[in-house]
């Protein structure tokens, strides 16, 4: 059975299908396009489940693509290699799942240019899977750049078919902002990768960009700092770390719901994954010194954005800022540099992906029905949408860290991990400041729930319908995930090790 499981198929299947979907050979019929892509996402999810089922963390999946018997760029030692270890496996699984949810969420949100939309979504999945599974720095960078093209079109495209000129302009501007910010980050990151490649060559004597080789090399500490800072700027744009975060709220607000789900659910995690792979594992000497400083940034992320989120009135912006806040928690877990912190981080990546899917889905449903995302003018929709209200209540409670849901586990673990960090007092201090996340998040989340769902129902909302089957499936599967990982966290924690 294991012979049939191949990483290249896992990564490049969506890419090939996306080329097929956009080609003139494929039908323009929107229903066929939608169902076909949904089927592809479903198949991909099943395939990744199969890979998970046969996964053995002692000998991870490794694969190398040869081009006519040669490596990719042999002269600088770049090989097209992939490796799925336990963390990659979890994130691959998560990616596949979130994209499946996004394809379900697309039904009512996407009303034009179906072929282009689904092919871009598939291409984005390929690129993100490439990031999570690459075991060569330059391959990692290749996918990191490749992901910009579909992400640009997904954020800035005309998917509703009925956008006003202003909306269209806004979406395009935020897409350009996203691309320029990420490109800025990735260029600085490229400098770090080039230096890492060079100093690995000096210390090891082999031209290689493979993570395993670089982990083994002895890079001078001073150089490690330079490289770490370069890489952290690159990942900090994606994560985002506070001064580099300004692209995020715009991009998330202007993108259609399924795209927001993908952006917040998966795309932000690529930044955390990068820090984990590069800074945490490869440049570990420098990371011990940098971690306390980074922890301070994480605390700023957590607290500052929580206050900003409280001041927002747009539901999507609240959720977007809450994502930044949560990413701070993931960063703090990594900064603790111990096993608990690592597993807390990865666990929170999964938990936050689920929560944010649910929250963006709710925001999308409300916007689709009421044509309004402002919590000051929304009120009383619980009476017409009782089922949505039920889901919203549970997911909001889960997001603020109520026990029995997944985020609770990771929040507690993160705080324990940073208390256990022996190498620096800053981390112990930071754990104290991480606690307000629980309080502050309940402030803005409950405010959103309270203002939009309770109160008197305006007459114009009396005719709106409750959630449909597609939306129910998305919300229910999110909820199931939250509950399963909340009650049996060992399913995931055991796998992280």
């Amino acid at each position: 059975m294991e012979k049939f499981l191949s990483i290249p198929f896992l990564i490049f299947m969506p890419l090939v299908v996306s080329m097929f979907v956009i080609s003139p050979l494929f039908t323009r019929n929107e229903i066929v396009v939608r169902r076909f892509s949904k089927g592809v996402f479903g198949f991909h999810f099943l395939y990744s489940i199969l890979m998970l089922a046969f996964f053995d963390s002692a000998n991870p999946y490794i694969s190398q693509i040869h081009f006519f018997g040669l490596d990719w760029i042999q002269s600088i030692g770049v090989k097209f290699t992939f490796k799925i270890d336990n963390i990659s496996m979890i994130l691959t699984m998560l990616t596949s799942f979130v994209f499946l949810l996004a394809s379900f969420a697309s039904k009512f949100n996407i009303r034009a240019n179906h072929k282009f939309y689904y092919s871009m979504l598939l291409l984005l999945e390929s690129a993100i899977l490439g990031i999570f599974t690459a075991s060569d720095m330059f391959v990692f960078f290749l996918f990191w750049e490749l992901e910009l093209i579909p992400a640009y079109f997904l954020i800035g495209g005309k998917w509703k078919g009925s956008e006003s000129e202003q909306e269209e302009k806004q979406a395009q501007n935020s897409a350009i902002k996203f691309v320029l910010f990420t490109f800025l980050g990735s260029m600085v990151m490229l400098l770090g990768i080039l230096l890492l490649h060079y100093y690995n060559f000096i210390s090891n004597g082999i031209l290689s960009a493979n993570f395993a080789d670089i982990n083994a090399s002895q890079i001078p500490e001073f150089i490690q700092y330079i490289i770490s800072v370069c890489l952290l700027i690159g990942f900090g744009v994606k994560l985002p770390i506070i001064p580099l975060h300004t692209w995020l709220p715009d991009a998330h607000t202007n993108a259609p719901t399924p795209v927001s789900i993908v952006l917040a659910g998966i795309l932000l995690k690529t930044g955390a994954y990068g820090i984990l792979r590069f800074n945490y594992q490869t440049l570990s000497d420098a990371f011990i010194t940098i971690a306390p400083i980074l922890a301070i940034f994480a605390i700023i992320n957590i607290i500052y954005t929580a206050f900003v989120a409280y001041a927002q009135t747009d539901i999507k912006r609240i959720v977007a800022y809450s994502s930044i806040s949560n990413m701070g928690l993931i960063l703090l877990g990594l900064c603790a540099i111990n096993k608990i912190g690592l597993s807390a981080s990865v666990f929170h990546m999964v938990a936050h992906a689920l929560v944010t899917c649910g929250l963006f889905m709710i925001a999308g449903i409300v916007y689709l029905r009421c044509k309004n995302r402002d919590i000051n003018t929304l009120s009383g929709i619980a009476t017409v949408m009782p089922r949505l209200f039920g889901f919203a209540t549970v997911i909001v409670l889960a997001s603020i860290g109520i026990p029995a849901f997944a985020p609770f586990v990771s929040e507690i673990l993160t705080i324990i991990a940073s208390l256990n960090a022996d190498f620096s007092d800053v981390l112990k201090f930071a754990s104290v400041f991480a606690l307000p996340l629980l309080i502050l998040s309940s402030c803005y989340m409950l405010k959103f729930l309270h203002k939009s769902f309770f109160g008197e129902l305006p007459t114009e909302y009396e005719k709106i319908n409750d959630i449909t089957v597609h939306e129910f499936i998305v919300l229910a599967s999110v909820l199931a995930g939250l509950v399963i990982f909340g009650i049996f966290p060992n399913v995931l924690l055991g796998m992280i090790g």
Binding site: F67, W72, F143, V179, L180, F183, L194, L195
Partner: protein, 477 residues
Amino acid sequence: MLNDIFNILLPNFCILGFIILQLVLSIILSPRLFRYSRLVSIIGISLSILLLSTVQTEPQYFAFKNSLMSDSYTLLFDFLILVCGFLVALLSRNLIRTIKGNAYSFHAILLSGIFGAMNIISANDFLTLFVSIEILSFSTYFLIAAAKGYYSKEAAFKYLLTSAISTGVFLFGVSYLYGICGSINLSQIYEVIMNQEPSIMYSISAIMIILGLISKLAVFPFANWVIDVYKGCETSVLAFLSTIPKLAVFGIVCRLLVFPLSNSFELTFVIAIICLITALWANTYAIRENNVKAILACSASANSSYVLLAACLVSVYNLSTVIFYLMCYVLMNISAFAFLNICSEKQDMNVNGFKGIFYNNHGLTGAYAFSILALAGFPITSGFIAKIYLFTAIANSGLIFVPFLLALLLLMVVALYYYLKIILPLFERCDKNTFVPKLNPVFSQKFVLVITAIITLLIGIYPEKIIELCRFIAYNI
């Protein structure tokens, strides 16, 4: 002497023969038969490409009392120049339809430009080099001025002035070097320089020689011509201007930096600073430009500076990255200009004039957008590989150059902004009132655009064979 011609100069003499043939045809044929001028050029260039196989390269062959040489390096550059010349000749259809009776002379000048470029590559003394540069420059003036209208004449005059000044600087540097070494032959100069302490006079002369040469690359002190000249040029001439002089000058500059002028740290430093200033100027200037040609002019200037920075940090490894980058860059550029050539009859080159053109012609516009993305260095294009490969070379040159590299990388973000400014309007959907030009390309234009885009894609996916070739050539210089 005849032996020399048969050993290394057959391709050059083939081009020379076809120049004379074109001139004779321009006298004896009726102006109505102007279309055949393109055919004659294409035949000439193809024949010359075939004749490249007769050139002796092992190990190095010196001809005409050491004034010309050939090795695998010159062979590769001759090949690239001829291929670019072939593609430019294919693109010249639109232009020769406007100048009709002068088409034969136009092609004669085009061929003489190629002839000059090939001689620059194989020059082994400064006199030959000077004469070849002048052949190339004079051809370029006339090519730029060939298009109808005021702006092309203005552009040609500007190019003439800058070239004249830079040639003066070049000659001045050569005279100093002659004073130090007592020779104008590159091999002899190299021997003399290696046996004595580098003096300040030597560095000054080296800087002046390189400065004089790189004015053709639109690098800082002589960069201002580039925007006006590009705006005034016809697109097929632009495909010529942005590739062939660049290949020729980079070919000789790399050779000079590896051999006779390799002994000067000041030179490296000055060139690095110049590159930085050029990249800064070109990338920031392009932000406010709205003309596609002007943006591509800035991009040409910026790209030159990246390559020059890698070239001045001399090592064999760097040389291979420079050759690879040039190959990729030349193809992307021709691809972009091929699309502009298709559109050139329909519009002035404002970026907003291209709105929605994607929906009229998917394939060609897609190929164009792809080549612009390649210029911006996106993955699965040759531009991505070329950039990574070039930047590894700069990063490997030591920590001093890391700030330079950082600056270049940050400027690439700015570059992405103006490349997006070209690409995004192509995909914009516009309402029914806006006029979207319909493209009706002929086969030769489509061929050039598609073939260059496909090669760009193939190198982007599978670069190893080409990189190996570049390394082989760099090690054999």
